[in-house]
């Protein structure tokens, strides 16, 4: 595979084929763990680790795994990595483990991870599968962080760092760092609905609507530009004809 194609494997998942905003996959964790930015960052990183590891192993074993039992084998591989990630998280980041709850275990049946194994890793080489995993992982991480940023700021009026990643609080005299944005002394313009599951749907819907509007605007601009170009070409052709006559 050419160098440009390697780059394409990496970039595609970040924006053009973003698993959450474009393919609309992985909605369950995207809505469940985006109440706080810290949890979303944690979930995004763990998701990327599982995706990259499973992509690489599936790619390595793609010629060994029989066609008939492809999916069960992929699920066993993914489940192994999810279990390992879960154990390490519970041991070394217990607060993150508690905040993600059942949604960390549910990565076993996450359609992005299984989908990338099926659609990409089982048909491509190790390097490309690795890059595809990193690209899709970053794309998912960015998408859930964007939703979490809006939800936490609008829902609580502040951003808190140190509740989930306690090392931040430890480095800050044991207190979490709070950035007051919509809330402060004498004012509070936050809307608690954004912290609820309904708020998750709302933010996701609005984000998708904005992205669709931007895409529509781009498509319309292209059409208008093409029409203007065609019009100009016609006018020039008419002028040329007049001159010739």
């Amino acid at each position: 595979m050419a160098k440009g194609e390697h780059k394409q494997s990496f970039i595609a998942g970040i924006i053009a084929e973003n698993p959450l905003f474009v393919s609309l996959l992985g909605m369950c964790p995207a809505l469940a763990v985006t109440k706080s930015l810290e949890s979303a960052i944690g979930m995004g990183i763990l998701f990327t680790i599982v995706l990259v590891c499973s992509n690489v192993l599936v790619s390595l074993l793609r010629k060994v795994i029989p066609e008939e039992v492809r999916t069960p084998c992929f699920i066993v591989i993914i489940a192994t990595f999810v279990t390992l990630t879960k154990m390490f998280t519970e041991a070394f980041l217990p607060e993150l483990y508690s905040s993600l709850g059942v949604f960390l275990s549910l990565l076993v049946v996450n359609c992005i991870i299984l989908g990338r194994s099926e659609a990409f890793a089982s048909k491509n080489g190790v390097l490309d599968s690795f890059l595809d995993g990193i690209g899709n992982g970053i794309g998912f991480l960015m998408a859930i962080c964007l939703i979490a940023l809006f939800r936490e700021v609008l829902g609580t009026g502040q951003l808190t760092f140190g509740n989930t990643f306690t090392f931040i609080a430890d480095a800050h005299n044991g207190e979490p760092i709070k950035l007051w944005i919509l809330k402060g002394e004498g004012y509070d313009v936050s809307f608690s609905i954004f912290s609820t599951p309904a708020g998750g749907f709302l933010v996701l819907g609005i984000t998708l609507a904005i992205m669709a509007a931007i895409n529509n605007m781009k498509a319309n601009k292209k059409k208008v530009d093409a029409r203007i170009k065609a019009q100009k070409a016609k006018e020039e052709a008419a002028k040329k004809r007049e001159v010739a006559q």
């Binding site: 060994v64 069960p72 192994t80 279990t83 390992l84 217990p94 059942v102």
Partner: protein
């Protein structure tokens, strides 16, 4: 239908090999992480005990409980606070939506002293927290925890999560009353 034994055997062998390697890796990782996880849990429980009774209380040795009648009770700690005795029950329950683990502090007269949430993995965790547990742990209008507990039965006693929490607390009370 004719069974191709050779390919069937090959498939079984490959699946077994993948699953075995996965299982061995998980087992080895478990050996590495289990002591740390146990240590974290013990630390969390000690912090939880202090959350329930404060720094002035002294806690006795943990008494493990394994009785069918008290399915939600895992253990209790005898407590000495201001020269009177009390107990903290470590409770854990599971319903269709996830797990809930609480430390329930009871006074000698079997009323609730305080409660700490150790785990809430329900898929409606926020609902249980905001509608039930927050009210129970931080009672409003100068009510006691016991009064809040009575109130919450009316407030949202119909949800599965709330029922589970109520059952866990009631079992702790019953066990304490039985003088076990």
């Amino acid at each position: 239908m004719k069974i191709d034994w050779k390919s069937s055997f090959k498939i079984a062998l490959i699946i077994t090999a993948i699953a075995s390697v996965g299982a061995i890796t998980i087992a080895l990782t478990n050996v590495l992480t289990e002591p740390i996880i146990k240590q974290n849990r013990a630390q969390r429980e000690q912090n939880g005990l202090k959350k329930v009774f404060g720094d002035n209380a002294t806690f006795g040795d943990k008494v493990e409980l394994k009785e069918d009648k008290y399915q939600y009770l895992q253990a209790y700690y005898p407590v000495n606070i201001d020269s009177s005795s009390a107990r903290v029950y470590s409770t854990k329950g599971t319903n269709a939506y996830g797990d809930v683990a609480l430390l329930v502090g009871l006074n000698a007269d079997f009323t609730i002293y305080n409660i700490a949430v150790m785990e809430n993995t329900e898929s409606y965790a926020v609902t249980l927290k905001e509608n039930y547990l927050d009210y129970l742990i931080n009672p409003k209008d100068k009510k006691t925890h016991e009064q809040a507990f009575e109130d919450t039965s009316v407030k949202c006693g119909a949800t599965y999560g709330a029922k589970l929490v109520k059952d866990m607390i009631n079992q702790a009370k019953e066990h304490y009353k039985e003088g076990k």
